[in-house]
């Protein structure tokens, strides 16, 4: 899984600050929401990177930055070596073809007035050189078949499909331009439990078939573990721990990762009385005014003076092979702990 394939996506020191303005006529900037605050990672061909974290930690802003739907404050996003954040015009359009997105809510992300054929075929309107006009309808039908929908339903409207089928339509649209990277922003969380597994299986099958690389953003940690090769844990705009699935789930070293994992209910009632839990107090601080030093120190049980003074770097520390942004990083198995 960690075959030394070329990284297809390289993200370096990515920062996005949204200005906070005050005043109606004479606007002046009084601060900034630090939504994404220095994120770096690589994504290789055919690999899945899971991104987990609480709401407000910057997961979705990160997705928008990767898609070049937002311009970053600083930092770079390189796709096949070319920086998408500085690309303009025709070049940007060409680069966007390579990175597509599957949205969370299949009920609001499909235009109710367009037929399925128009929705899945719309990328071809914008990138008209990908499929010649005459062959588009057939291409759309092929796509529907690939995602497990009946190609004869090409003239139906979104409301005639169930939630799981709509998510398949969204996936077909994402595949239309044959991208190498797909960003899945909570692709199964709006679906019924019995449908989630179907969509997960579809995503895995498509990955194998087309050698896709996924950025898989989700809050369901068991789903993320199932599909991801590596996992990035985010807290207040920063990656606090990055590792492969066994490293993150079996020997997490950052206290936040440990708290997050221990908070996930285990779907097995046996032994629930003895299970230990790390329950964090309060809510995450506001990204407009994050704590000094380590952002997590205000909720951390290990916090000491150094945590307020010095920001811990995301790096491998003695006793653990994967990078973690904690001065006192220490492996602890919270999932299987008795």
């Amino acid at each position: 899984m960690t075959a030394p394939a070329e990284p297809i996506l390289e993200v370096r020191d990515l920062v996005k600050h949204f200005p906070l303005n005050y005043g109606v006529v004479f606007k002046r900037q009084v601060g900034a929401i630090k939504a994404v605050d220095g994120v770096s990672f690589d994504l290789r061909k055919g690999e899945t990177l899971g991104v987990v974290g609480e709401s407000g930690c910057g997961k979705s802003t990160l997705a928008k930055l990767l898609m070049a739907l937002e311009r970053p404050t600083s930092g770079s996003v390189r796709i096949n070596g070319r920086d998408i954040t500085t690309a303009r015009g025709a070049e940007l359009k060409r680069m966007r073809r390579n990175i597509q997105m599957v949205m969370q809510d299949p009920y609001t992300s499909l235009n109710p007035r367009m037929t399925v054929g128009d929705i899945v075929g719309e990328p071809f309107e914008i990138h008209s050189d990908v499929a010649p006009k005459g062959g588009r309808r057939q291409r759309v039908q092929e796509l529907l078949e690939v995602v497990g929908l009946n190609p004869d339903h090409i003239n139906r409207y979104p409301h005639q499909f169930s939630g799981g089928q709509r998510q398949r339509i969204g996936i077909a649209r994402g595949l239309a331009l044959q991208p190498e990277i797909i960003i899945c922003d909570e692709p199964v969380s709006a679906l019924d439990v019995s449908i989630q597994a179907q969509v997960m299986n579809l995503l895995e099958r498509l990955q194998n078939e087309f050698n896709l690389a996924y950025i898989f953003i989700a809050h369901d940690l068991s789903v993320v573990r199932h599909i991801s090769d590596r996992i990035a844990v985010m807290y207040l705009g920063k990656i606090v721990e990055l590792g492969n699935d066994a490293e993150i789930y079996d020997s997490p070293t950052h206290p936040y990762t440990q708290a997050l994992l221990s908070a996930v209910p285990v779907p097995d009632p046996e032994g629930r009385e003895t299970r230990q839990r790390i329950i964090l107090q309060g809510d995450p601080p506001s990204p407009a005014n994050p704590p000094s030093g380590c952002h997590f120190r205000t909720r951390c049980w290990k916090a000491q003076d150094i945590c307020a003074e010095q920001e811990p770097a995301l790096e491998a520390r003695p006793g653990s092979a994967h990078p973690s942004a904690c001065h006192f990083a220490e492996a602890r198995d919270v999932v299987n702990a008795e």
């Binding site: 609480e54 709401s55 169930s162 799981g164 089928q165 019924d192 439990v193 019995s194 449908i195 989630q196 597994a197 179907q198 997960m200 299986n201 895995e204 809050h219 940690l221 068991s222 789903v223 573990r225 199932h226 699935d245 789930y249 708290a259 997050l260 908070a263 996930v264 209910p265 285990v266 779907p267 097995d268 009632p269 046996e270 629930r272 839990r277 329950i279 964090l280 309060g282 809510d283």
Partner: protein, 346 residues
Amino acid sequence: MKNPSVDTHLLPADRAGDEPLLAVDNLHVEFQTRQGVVRAVNGVSYSVNAGETLAVLGESGSGKSVTAQAIMGILDMPPARIPKGEVRFHGTDLLTMRDEDRGQIRGRRIAMIFQDALSALNPVFTVGWQIGEMFRVHQGMSKRDARRKAVELMDRVRIPGAKSRVDDFPHQFSGGMRQRIMIAMAIALDPEILIADEPTTALDVTVQAQIMGLLAELQQESDMGLILITHDLGVVADVADKIAVMYGGRIVEHASVFDGYRAPAHPYTKGLLESIPRVDLKGQELYAIKGMPPNLLDMPTGCAFHPRCPYRKENCVTDVPPLYTVSDTRGSACHYWREVLDDGSR
């Protein structure tokens, strides 16, 4: 209507001995729609005792919320209609009660919290006013006393700095804090039964753990009966004493949480448990229940689950399974529950 009405009664254990604190007995709820009559709840029976947690599991459209709304008496009638069934609280049927008497029970002795706290709270009143409303309306308390009580309650649900936040509006609180305010309103009058309809679905896992812990503490303090409506198999495994699994308007399986997770007796429960991603099966295809949840307007004949069921035999297509008694405390609406049970979970 293709699907016949089904009569289902309480399990033997609930019928014997003392009357449970709250018993839903053979409840039917229909909705009159332009496309026809929809049987949203078709013969549902369950019971809760003091201090007990019943988890009602099911997908959207399975009828779990409609049953709760019928217990609370907050269904819009019409279009809803309750042709049959009883909801007994301390042995008295709530459905045949006069409206004034029912108003004495609703909110005071049986309370409910909803999934989406932001839309359940009124945006133009302060949270203190809304919590205090419980005392002003139900107990005729003065504004000042009600406000003082509101602060006490906000402390009890552990909202930091309750005194300074009592005059804040709902939008000034985070999702987890809003859910605490909903809980404060629900427990204001020390209800005997609390119905929690997806209380943590919209929340992050760390906040979910806080809220579930809070509910468990409050339940222990006052010996409340808790009906937890959810689709999260993890949460259920954590807190429930017994489970009722709903599918297509019926309860397809009743069990204690330990029995149900160890060896499900209905193929739907088994399928749900098997579709949870597991560490040792990473990289393999997930087990998926095939097909889609049924359309209530066009229910399959016979057993509603038969088009998706791996245990299907000929009679499943024609005969509606009754709730078979597996044991005194277990029931399964599957003709072949013995086979399912023998296969065990996974």
